[in-house]
């Protein structure tokens, strides 16, 4: 009797674990099937054309893809130096009494829902950008900055974790040789945890590119490629969030699903690179 229950329990847990795998595969399959119509209609033009005109049944995702790339790039340029600074501060500089409270508050801020960062951006940051750069304040620049602030706590926390993997004995040896703090950081901590730090930054990039709510409030959802960063723009998640409930034709839906598929493939690739190329190596080391 116990033998049977044992078998049932073991197989039940395995079945459920496999379901998790199947759901992921199912997500890819469904998004692919739903975007077939758009793929057949537009082919490669879908990713190279920037004309997005639902009334004309013409869909080109170039503006949305560029928007995702530019806003994420902006966010990374702003967030990476600050995050590394915070991580160095937390792992090497801060007094032990300061380390825990500052570290925990950064982790707690990483838990605040992104929709709140977006709401703050809309009410408090958009007017500032409007005053400084003119225009309506909603656009690529604002989105990039809000995205940078939103991703900062997560990025700083994982970078700090990577730096913390450096064994104390290595650092102490360097100090014993007369190294300053900066010498220890640049010659011991960073070389030792390089793979982990890069992995942490790429992982944050993977999160930033799929982030929806922090940017939806402040981007404007205008399908136009513009080199003026203060102009309203769009990105893949912003388009999805704004237009999914508005789509009325099969082709419109299919195009949105293709956008979702593109986003999933991009972030899946980025996160895989971070996890398997950089972060796994540190785990083995």
């Amino acid at each position: 009797m116990t033998h049977i229950i044992d078998k049932i329990f073991a197989n039940a847990t395995r079945l459920i674990a496999i379901i998790v795998l199947l759901i992921t595969a199912w997500i890819f399959t469904v998004l692919f099937q739903e975007s077939l119509l758009s793929m057949q209609t537009f082919g490669l033009d879908f990713v190279t054309e920037s004309k997005w005109a639902p009334n004309l049944e013409k869909f080109g995702a170039f503006a949305a893809i560029m928007g995702s790339v530019i806003s994420t790039f902006l966010a990374m340029v702003l967030a990476v130096p600050i995050a590394i600074g915070v991580a160095i501060f937390l792992s090497e500089i801060a007094h032990a009494k300061l380390k825990a409270p500052v570290g925990v508050s950064i982790e707690l801020l990483a838990a605040i829902p992104s929709v709140i960062y977006g709401m703050w951006g809309l009410f408090y940051f958009v007017p500032i950008i409007r005053d400084i750069f003119g225009g309506i304040g909603i656009g690529m620049l604002t989105a990039g900055i809000v995205l940078a602030i939103m991703i900062l706590p997560f990025m700083a926390a994982v970078t700090r974790d990577a730096m913390n993997t450096t064994p104390d004995i290595l650092k102490e040896s360097a100090y014993a040789l007369g190294g300053t703090k900066w010498d220890v950081i640049k010659d011991i901590v960073i070389p030792y945890s390089k793979a982990g730090i890069i992995g942490a930054l790429i992982l944050a990039l993977g999160r930033a590119i799929g982030e929806t709510m922090a940017v939806t409030f402040v981007m404007g959802n205008v399908h136009k490629v513009s080199f003026d960063l203060t102009q309203p723009a769009t990105s893949i998640p912003v388009t999805l969030a704004n237009e999914f409930t508005e789509a009325d034709t099969k082709l419109y839906f299919s195009s949105l699903f293709e956008l979702a598929l593109i986003l999933l493939v991009i972030s899946f690739t980025i996160i895989s690179i971070a996890k398997f190329y950089f972060l796994r190596r540190t785990r083995r080391a």
């Binding site: 039940a12 998790v20 600074g85 915070v86 937390l90 500052v102 605040i112």
Partner: protein, 280 residues
């Protein structure tokens, strides 16, 4: 200037820059927190818990429908996602271990934990909303469950792994079958860790907005019908905040405040449970 002086000066500059970036980073974040708390507290009153959403300009307006909807959607996702996630995590730690299948499931879950949640929303739209013909709370519940599963699975896996093998061996030596060892020994040993994992998982999905936008959608009135659209704090917050009406924006801040306090509370309690465990 000697080489040593130069190194000391560079060291000083880096120390200042790094401390400065910590101050800037924390400054921005506390600014947001301050805005959230000050606007939130100003917007809080009893009406929020007593009344449903009303047209702008209406005095008796509240968030009752969103609070109830949030509890139903997140609660149901928890009730479905937590047991499934724990069982799947049990497979990884106790049965699959280092096998190819278990490692693949670990890898895929790791990626899914960081994958864009709006994509999950569009998937659920395709498999539930289109066939049913309308938005429904059920679709929102499914979307949140899919997001929650890999989180619970991975924490359970990690936490069960921390239970010493000797405990399992002792139970086996007494003749206990494996399922009993898992249920009565391993789970008990990992109780605090799993509980923390569950709380962090719930906190994570409670703040999700994107996957609910086109699954459970929104509703300005109280509804407990799982097959109809249902309000949630997050989507209500988004709709109200982007509206041009001051009193709706005020309700948006109230929703943001309540939700953040709930999520921060779960995070803090979760950490305290683990700390307490470690202290013993």
């Amino acid at each position: 200037m000697t080489a040593i002086q130069k190194r000391v000066i560079i060291n000083g500059i880096v120390m200042v820059l790094s401390t400065l970036s910590a101050v800037i980073g924390l400054g921005f974040l506390f600014w947001i927190l301050f805005i959230l708390v000050s606007n939130g507290i100003e917007a809080m009153n009893w009406d929020i818990f007593l009344f449903e959403g009303a047209p702008p300009g209406y005095a008796e307006s509240g968030l009752k429908q969103a609070l109830v909807g949030q509890l139903i959607i997140v609660g149901a996702a928890t009730v479905i996602g937590v047991p499934l996630g724990i069982l799947a995590g049990t497979y990884l730690s106790e049965y699959g271990q280092r096998s190819k299948l278990a490692e693949t499931i670990r890898d895929v879950s790791d990626i899914m934990m960081s994958a864009p949640s709006i994509v999950v929303g569009s998937f659920v739209y395709a498999v539930m909303v289109i066939p049913m013909g309308h938005f429904s709370a059920l679709a929102g519940i499914v979307a949140l469950t899919i997001i929650m599963l890999p989180i619970i699975l991975r924490t359970t896996d990690d936490m069960l792994h921390l239970v010493p093998t000797t405990l399992r061996e002792a139970a086996f030596a007494l003749g206990a079958p494996k399922y009993k060892v898992v249920l009565q020994i391993v789970y008990r040993g990992a109780k605090a860790g799993i509980l923390t994992g569950v709380m962090l998982g719930v906190a994570r999905v409670a703040g999700e907005t994107a996957p609910l936008l086109f699954t459970s959608f929104n509703d300005n009135y109280m509804s407990t019908d799982l097959f109809a659209p249902m309000a949630s704090l997050t989507v209500t917050m988004y709709n109200y905040a982007t509206s041009p009406y001051a009193d709706w924006q005020r309700l948006g801040w109230a929703a943001a405040f309540i939700l953040s306090m709930f999520i921060l509370g779960l995070n803090i309690i979760g950490r305290l449970i683990l700390l307490n465990k470690k202290g013993k």
